[in-house]
């Protein structure tokens, strides 16, 4: 695979035509600048092409500018299949079902928080464990887990673990209706019993950040963002319950492929028709795990609010409001305009047709424009907030969904995207030096392991500004604010 195999659609969009490989059912398209395109590993491109061979795939196999090699599906990929006979694939979502991000807004400025920063970070680290050592001290019963699996965030809010806006400002309002706890194994439930309200490891984190720059005053105002405001970002997913759920269903789906005559270049692409019994059970189980992930982020929010008030007092000033919560590993049934897909057809005035699709997002974020159902009432006039976490010590972004995103099933990137392997990062970067550098820049770091600091160093990632610029320039979404870190917290 080299540059001559790509057709340049525009400065930020590249296509690999169906003629490239006989098993491709649709072309593959990558959103990237010329520079970022060069950085994409050949194996990642092969994975994007493999996805183009899946039964029932519609229009394109898509990849975002942060894409990098995964296992089976590329990370940073989007694939929509026809509903209800197209395929659903556990690997198209990943093991961490509904890994995602949420952003909490404070009423304070950086200057006001600075004297309390270290104490706040220490208290949050204490309240929100990683789960790698001790889990949470309370171990939920299977009955409680079932309620979370089916009730999601609304159930927790009813129990007093949040407020009404926590439901309103969450993708799917924190609950996939299709969830069925009966479809999730007892083993998966057991793995989740002491993990509700834990961060996990790897690139999962809590960060205290400040609003460094506002790009879109109107959207920022609707979102409640202002310059120098202190905000908190949470990045985690469905923990062991989701991991086990994916493992359980791959063991069902892999042998079922042959039953449906599905031949695949890799087992991690294993899939079944959505309307098959296996497909239906998986979708209900995945929906339940997604509810578990939203609940995990909700409980982390609950514990962070406790920490925040412990340090800053119990006045209304110290309240933390949820801006938004978005998933970046998920499959959902959504209605989209399908076709025309060729530029010539579009210029001839051909219009698309509304169709239900099974949209897989693996390391990719939904980004709905203004006026779409699915956007919270509060954000209807501007569009859905989109949260893009950056690499450690760099910037994160708040974007807003824009009309052009319909060509990508209303999807954008999910982060900076890794550029260096973890082993290489450990070999070449020093955790101690990175902490020293962050401290010199006034950033507080609370992390148990020096090794994970090295693994997650910004040098191991692509340039988040360049990645975000691609989705901004293509019009898939628009920049609203840049956030920079004040404290990085990785859990005890």
């Amino acid at each position: 695979m080299n540059k001559k195999n790509f057709i340049k659609i525009n400065n930020y969009l590249w296509e690999i035509p169906m003629s490239f490989r006989p098993d491709m059912r649709v072309p593959a398209r990558i959103y990237a600048s010329e520079n970022l395109l060069k950085e994409i590993e050949p194996e990642a491109i092969e994975q994007i092409i493999n996805v183009a061979s899946l039964p029932g795939i519609v229009n394109y196999s898509l990849a975002m500018p942060d894409c990098h090699t995964g296992y089976g599906f590329v990370i940073g990929g989007v694939a929509a299949t026809r509903y209800p006979e197209g395929i659903i694939s556990p690997g198209g979502i990943g093991y961490d079902q509904n890994c995602g991000c949420r952003l909490l807004l404070s009423n304070y400025t950086e200057k006001e928080i600075k004297p309390y920063l270290d104490k706040l970070a220490a208290e949050i680290q204490k309240e929100v464990p990683s789960g790698l050592g001790r889990g949470r001290t309370t171990k939920l019963s299977i009955e409680q887990i079932n309620k979370i699996l089916e009730g999601g965030v609304p159930y927790l809010v009813e129990q007093g673990y949040g407020e009404k806006d926590d439901v309103e400002n969450c993708e799917e309002k924190g609950k996939m209706e299709e969830a069925d706890a009966f479809c999730v194994s007892e083993t998966a439930k057991n793995r989740g019993r002491d993990q509700v309200g834990t961060l996990g490891s790897g690139n999962h984190f809590c960060e205290i950040q400040k609003v460094n720059e506002i790009f879109d005053e109107k959207a920022a105002k609707v979102f409640g963002l202002f310059k120098d405001q202190v905000v908190l970002m949470i990045h985690t997913g469905s923990r062991g319950l989701g991991h086990q759920n994916c493992t359980d269903y791959l063991r069902i789906v892999i042998p079922a492929c042959s039953k449906y005559g599905i031949k695949l270049p890799d087992r991690e692409l294993a899939c079944v028709p959505f309307n098959s019994s296996e497909g239906q059970r998986f979708f209900k189980a995945m929906s339940a795990a997604c509810n578990f992930a939203w609940s995990n982020r909700q409980m982390i929010t609950y514990y962070i609010r406790i920490a925040w008030k412990k340090v800053l007092g119990f006045s209304t000033e110290s309240e933390l409001k949820l801006l938004y919560d978005v998933a970046h590993n998920i499959a959902k049934i959504e209605e989209h305009e399908v076709g025309p897909i060729r530029e010539s057809e579009i210029s001839n005035g051909a219009s698309g047709q509304k169709m239900k699709l099974i949209v897989h997002r693996k390391g990719a974020t939904r980004a709905l424009p203004a006026g779409y159902s699915g956007v919270s009432e509060k954000y209807q006039s501007v569009g859905q907030p989109v949260l893009i976490p950056g690499s450690m010590g760099t910037a994160s972004y708040v974007l807003v969904g824009a009309d052009k995103s319909k060509e990508a099933w209303h999807t954008v990137c999910h982060g900076a995207g890794r550029a260096m392997s973890r082993q290489q990062a450990i070999r070449t970067l020093s955790g101690e030096e990175i902490i020293r550098d962050l401290k010199n820049r006034g950033i507080v770091v609370k992390c148990h392991s020096l090794r994970s600091i090295a693994e997650e160093a910004s040098e191991a990632y692509k340039n988040v500004h360049e990645v975000v610029e691609v989705v901004h320039q293509t019009g898939l979404s628009k920049k609203v604010a840049e956030l920079t870190p004040l404290a990085v917290i990785k859990g005890e």
Partner: protein
């Protein structure tokens, strides 16, 4: 233990941008399974426990030897997570391409170094290499 120690080459790391990828070697199928069990334990904790005082019996059926290896390791991973323990050793009672019966030995731990989310099926292919050793790729999602 150095994962890349050539004198003790049971496995070696392969570059992967997001996850942990290895090549596992063995004299035979049994060896591959035992070395992969050790690799999973070494990836998960800073130091292996000296005394292995937990014993668990496992029997797994699968489509073929590749699925069998992945399913076997995922079963051990589940036990690790649920019991907060690590299992570096496996005594294999019987093994063919579709079924394994084994006893795994482990010990409780205070903390995982790395949380392996799952052992994936990605590019797992057990085959004989030019040196006459069996080998396979193995990728842990972390």
């Amino acid at each position: 233990m150095d994962l890349n120690n050539k004198l003790y080459k049971k496995f070696e790391t392969i570059s992967h941008s997001a996850d942990l990828r290895f090549k596992v070697f063995g004299d035979d199928l049994k060896d591959i399974f035992q070395n992969a069990v050790l690799l999973l334990a070494l990836t998960s904790v800073v130091e292996l426990p000296l005394k292995l005082n937990i014993k668990k019996e496992l029997t797994i059926d699968a489509l073929d030897k590749e699925s069998l290896l992945v399913d076997f390791l995922n079963e051990i991973l589940t036990k690790m997570q649920v019991n907060k323990a690590v299992y570096p050793e496996a005594q294999i009672i019987s093994l063919n391409e579709n079924k394994i019966s084994a006893v795994i030995f482990g010990a409780p731990i205070n903390r995982f170094k790395e949380e392996v989310k799952a052992v994936t099926y990605y590019r797992v292919k057990i085959k004989k290499n030019k040196e006459g050793l069996f080998e396979t790729d193995l990728l842990f999602d972390i």
